[in-house]
């Protein structure tokens, strides 16, 4: 149809049912400790952390158990007071086995959190804040798990003019950012103070979608006098939470293909990440838990939980009452969340939710529906937020023309939002094709 560009939004995109009402009104609750917590050493993009504990050692909750191994790495902290049982391989959501620390919490401990070396926002230098963020083990909590400290300093020769605090949360079902904005308002503004100082941007913009009016109102009213913060509300559209989309929506600028937000003078930070910075840095603590939404028709006790890092999906689902006909579980929301192939996969810093579907919902997803040939209806072309041509890419993928996909059709720009697969009337698993093709291209480029 006519693609009128609504104010404060971006062209293209889709409108999947939001399904957030089940949990958006439920306050964040503390999740119990599992009998064993599995803390992978690689919960972020970049180099895995280097363990600084040995098997059999007793640790205190919040204690550093692994240190950043390079600049592209962050520290890990003990999610509970207990004993390190083992350092070995554990299943990861991407299907591989990764190095992890197995921690058995002490049943009778007070679970007090150890404070570290505080980082005072007034006196600390930008470099000191960067180091403190790295030491606190902070990564993008929105899902990408990119080490936060890496992207904060303005690159050589560039000035940043806008700090985006991303509270869009466009994934259906998820309500963690929504609850954090309502319940950790003060932490968010404290986090913004740190971030403004590091990024040296003159202003911050908190981006929210129109389906969270209470959060927008609360934040707008609570903005401290001395902070140059603006709260902007965008019309609901998926995938507005993507970095490229939110900057396009609110600044009208396009991050160049293959570029970074800094290329258009912007830096983005998820709202929950910002809140954690504001909560942890003043006391020198590290991330040992995070807020996630456990939701979907497959669980009976839906909610927003502050859950220890390393809790397995199995324990989380048991506690939340998995229903009899649960059939598919995925990390995150239904648009981008990878499906869980092993219930002993631990929740990591990048996990924003667990959604469980029953057979009734999965009937409409890939693998269950008849696949027709592409009829050239152009719905994918009209949905792709990056204006790619998924139809053409899909045909090329089928014929294994990976190089042409990357060279002529910008395959590597695709961030796998799933809009094309969502709208495809032929039920072609386009995103799945693109994921595989991107892997092939990386492999070929590495070999060349």
């Amino acid at each position: 149809m006519l693609d009128f560009v609504k104010k404060d939004s971006f062209p293209h995109g889709i409108h999947p049912p939001e399904n957030k009402d089940d949990t958006s009104g439920l306050p964040i609750r503390q999740f119990p400790f599992a009998p064993v917590l599995i803390v992978p050493l690689s919960q972020h993009l970049g180099k895995p952390a280097r363990p600084v504990v040995r098997e059999g050692q007793e640790v205190v909750r919040g204690q550093t158990i692994a240190e950043a191994d390079s600049f592209m790495s962050v520290a890990m902290h003990a999610p509970a007071s207990g004993t390190i049982r083992r350092i070995g391989l554990a299943p990861h959501i991407n299907g591989q086995m990764v190095e992890a620390v197995y921690l058995e919490p002490l049943p009778a401990s007070t679970q007090e959190i150890a404070d570290g070396e505080p980082c005072d926002v007034e006196s600390a230098t930008p470099d000191a804040i960067v180091t403190a963020i790295q030491r606190a083990g902070i990564v993008g909590l929105g899902g990408a798990a990119f080490p936060t400290h890496v992207k904060l300093r303005p690159p050589e020769g560039k000035t940043l003019d806008t700090l985006f605090i991303n509270g869009v949360e466009c994934e259906p079902y998820l309500t963690t950012d929504h609850r954090v904005m309502l319940e950790q308002t003060e932490d968010i503004f404290m986090g913004i103070r740190y971030l403004l100082k590091v990024t040296q941007t003159p202003r911050a913009v908190i981006a929210i979608e129109a389906n969270k009016p209470d959060a927008a109102k609360k934040l707008a009213e609570a903005v401290p006098e001395d902070l140059p913060v603006e709260v902007r509300v965008s019309p609901v559209k998926y995938p507005q939470g993507a970095e490229k989309m939110v900057i396009k929506a609110l600044l009208g600028r396009e991050i160049p293909s293959g570029g970074l937000p800094a290329d258009v003078g912007a830096v983005c930070c998820n709202v929950a990440t910002t809140a954690e910075i504001g909560r942890l840095l003043p006391r020198g603590r590290g991330i040992q838990e995070r807020v996630i939404t456990i939701t979907g028709p497959g669980v009976s006790k839906k909610g927003n939980y502050r859950i220890p890092i390393g809790t397995t999906v199995r324990f989380a689902l048991e506690q939340c009452g998995a229903v009899e006909d649960i059939s598919r579980v995925f990390m995150g929301g239904p648009m981008m969340g990878p499906s869980v192939s092993n219930l002993d996969i631990p929740i990591t810093k990048g996990t924003s939710g667990i959604t469980a579907f029953t057979a009734a919902e999965t009937g409409g997803s890939t693998g269950h529906r008849k696949v027709y040939p592409c009829i050239g209806c152009a719905r994918c072309v009209e949905a792709c937020p990056l204006y790619l041509n998924p139809s053409q890419l899909g045909i090329l993928a089928k014929f294994e023309q990976y190089e042409q996909m990357a060279d002529d059709f910008h395959l590597m720009d695709c961030f796998e939002c799933g809009s094309c697969s969502y709208v495809c009337p032929s039920h072609i698993p386009l995103v799945q094709y693109f994921r595989m093709s991107k892997k092939m291209v990386r492999k070929m480029r590495a070999a060349a």
């Binding site: 199995r314 499906s339 997803s365 693998g367 040939p373 009829i375 050239g376 209806c377 719905r379 990056l386």
Partner: protein
């Protein structure tokens, strides 16, 4: 047993979908064609009804039999061949011998669709391939136009319809030249209103422009048709015609005449918009419509035939992949893409 003890399934994200499906889109196109079809039977009587039934039957049967022959599951369930059959029937003269209808339908689906690889692979609109075949094979029968709204149209079956294969059909119904032929060979212009409401001679389903537009609007509203293609065709034809009418109003008719005469409405709304055989980008669609519009005007004004919509669309179908090669969407964060 705990629910977590059983086998869970895995699958690639996204785990939800819009619920759209090809068969549903195709079925809606059939629905959008129903008013035109009903009007056709009302205007031309039993002849049209038989031709339409034979057209649908021949196309569906051909696809079904060919699928069986190729040892693959039959694809008639996706409704696309039903559209082909219906559209094909709507482009035929109402008193065409049924055996010709069957031959054309088999050719259109067999050669125009199946040989290319079936749904999604057909380079040309199969309904038009079928019609083009008949036009070449049986030029006389394909330009024989029964009068609409005759008194005995529901009680009398035109004898030509039931003609034996390869026998010379005998015509017993009153006939009249189509408005386009009158325009071309006699310089007589039919009234615009007559054309719009389908009161003239013509193919089974091409006469009532208003109902065709109605079906088109329904599909556009349901996001099942790219409105840019008919819009571009209408605009091109109207502007070009208007210019020539200003130059010589005796020879050239007005824009409304051109839009509502012959197969232009049916072609622009239901044939040119065949998703498979038309370009995928918005700019490409505008260009594709422009090409069809220009070809229609050129063939109608200066070609040897009175009507040119069919060839205009088939030619544009052939160009469509090249339009797609030339015009790709501008990728986010890049300048204009060249080639």
């Amino acid at each position: 047993m705990s629910p977590l003890k059983k086998l869970l399934e895995i699958g690639s994200s996204p785990h939800i979908s819009s619920g759209a499906s090809v068969d549903n889109i195709m079925f809606n196109v059939v629905l959008a064609l129903l008013p035109v079809t009903i009007f056709a039977v009302y205007a031309f009587g039993t002849g049209a009804a038989l031709v339409l039934a034979a057209a649908v039957l021949s196309c569906v049967l051909t696809e079904h039999v060919l699928c069986k022959f190729a040892v693959q599951p039959t694809t008639v369930g996706d409704w696309s061949v039903a559209i082909t059959g219906l559209l094909y029937g709507l482009t035929l003269p109402p008193d065409l011998p049924l055996w010709m209808v069957f031959v054309g339908g088999a050719f259109g689906v067999g050669v125009g669709k199946f040989l290319f690889g079936g749904l999604g692979m057909n380079a040309f609109n199969p309904a038009l391939v079928a019609r083009a075949f008949l036009q070449a094979a049986f030029p006389q029968a394909m330009t024989h136009w029964q009068m609409p709204f005759t008194d005995d149209r529901f009680t009398h079956i035109p004898s030509s319809v039931l003609a034996m294969p390869f026998a010379e059909p005998v015509y017993d119904a009153a006939t009249q030249a189509t408005p386009l032929a009158q325009m071309k060979f006699e310089a007589v212009f039919a009234a615009d209103a007559q054309l719009m409401y389908g009161l003239t001679t013509g193919s089974v389903g091409e006469t009532c422009g208003v109902l065709i537009l109605l079906g088109g609007i329904y599909l556009v509203a349901r996001n099942m048709m790219n409105w840019r293609i008919p819009a571009s065709i209408f605009l091109t034809v109207a502007v070009m015609t208007w210019i020539f009418q200003q130059i010589d109003p005796q020879t050239y008719p007005g824009p409304l005449f051109m839009l509502f005469s012959g197969g232009l409405m049916l072609g622009a709304v239901f044939m040119a918009t065949d998703m498979v055989a038309s370009p995928i980008t918005h700019t490409g669609c505008w260009l594709y419509g422009l090409l069809i519009g220009v070809l229609v005007v050129v063939i109608r004004f200066w070609g040897g035939m009175p009507e040119g919509v069919m060839y205009a669309i088939l030619l544009a179908n052939a160009v469509s992949p090249h339009i797609d090669n030339l015009i790709q969407p501008r990728v986010f964060g890049t300048g204009r893409k060249s080639g």
